[in-house]
């Protein structure tokens, strides 16, 4: 299983209102640029619970699923016990 980690994100909103995440800020102070946006759709997070617009992003060669849920953003993080 996984849990939700709410994160700070930097986003771009264009003239049409379309939102695009640019950078994700981790709680330890590191931040990662979103290299590519692979998919956008409304989805429930089956791994971590929660629901929202799901932005599947490529970040440092890895696929990250970033959710926007009612104005807050979260990522799915693996539970410590599972690692």
């Amino acid at each position: 299983m996984a849990h939700r980690v709410y994160v700070r994100v930097q986003v771009d909103v264009d003239e049409s209102g379309k939102t695009r995440p640019l950078r994700i800020f981790w709680e330890d102070g590191r931040s990662f640029a979103v290299d590519r946006l692979l998919d956008v759709r409304r989805a429930a997070s089956t791994k971590a619970g929660g629901q929202g617009m799901r932005y599947t992003c490529r970040v440092r060669g890895r696929e990250i699923r970033l959710f926007e849920d009612d104005g807050r953003w979260f990522v799915e993080a693996r539970d410590a016990a599972a690692e």
Binding site: V40, A44, Q51
Partner: protein, 396 residues
Amino acid sequence: MRTILHSDLNNFYASVECVYEPSLRAVPMAVCGDPAVRHGIVLAKNMLAKRAGVQTGEAVWQAVRKCPNLKIIPPDYPKYLRFARMMKAICAEYTDAVESFGLDECWMDVTGHERGGEAIAGELRRRAREELGLTVSVGVSYNKIFAKLGSDMKKPDATTVITPENYRDRVWPLPAGDLLYVGPSTRRRLAARNIRTIGDIARSPRELLRTALGKSGEMLWVFANGLDQSPVLREGEGEAIKSVGNSTTTARDIVDDAGAHRVLMALADSVAERLRAQGLQGRTVCVSVRDCALYTTSVRHRLDHATALASEICTCAMALFRAHYRWERPVRSLGVSVSALESLEGDVQLSLFADARDRRYDLENAVGDIRRRFGHDALRRASLLGGGEIHFLKEN
């Protein structure tokens, strides 16, 4: 014959809570009004609590006595409202005739929709699961009453189809109290006359029900015999219809004009059929396009004459699409609607093309008639058949 869907989100409040806290699925859980107060009541419960005998509407202390390890969650209405709106938005992608019944239920009129009622039901279920994390049960029938009964018959995450052929077997054995508007007092009055099932109501003389229960008795007789004609009301109106529209999300993104044309043709077909079924025609054609980044555009054009012809609606829709869509991204969803409506009858079009148009109306009416009698797939436009690539989502 109409195609009416009734969708019902299962254990709505409790299910929304489980979306946010999946561990709640493993324990008996109930959403209860003000759990701090011992007199709070159970508003919704999950499957495990249901199995322990917990009932919606009972006092928290009663529920806890039945199920001592019941996890009690306070309600979060803004969150439920948000999910209800999202579900409704999904339904509205298939038809503009979506009538809410409470927060978690709605009817949809999808008569003439290219995909057919059962396939749309399957898609609503899949999309509720994937997009919202919720399950929905759907009844598919030819009137609102049977559609609602259908959504109650099998849950969670199930489709029940009730047809003119099977309603006597499927609906009539159900207790009279399952019928819409039959509350405890009506049920008692019916039972006093030995009317206990929906079939008992249907087989009773209409007169007898009128005598026993007045006008509402007659209404129940109409319901039980599958004769209810009440329309699915559009959002916020019981009065006149302002537009007729259909839209569709395709299984694979549309990548070229030919693909868009096939989808627009199918949508125009369905819109035209619904317009004519309601004796309407319209002057304004509107096309909405949602690309794969979920950005929606909508453009409209006013024709110089009103129409209920699929061919004319499609031509206008395609011209709008070509003129306004620049293919920056593939298309995920398309919609066509016709507004500025007027009555089809009594409209004498004295245009140069009147004769040709009359013949086309005859043709399209004939097509509609064949579809009504032999099913929607009996006749398909040639442009929908070719092309190899199947754009419409097939139910898995």
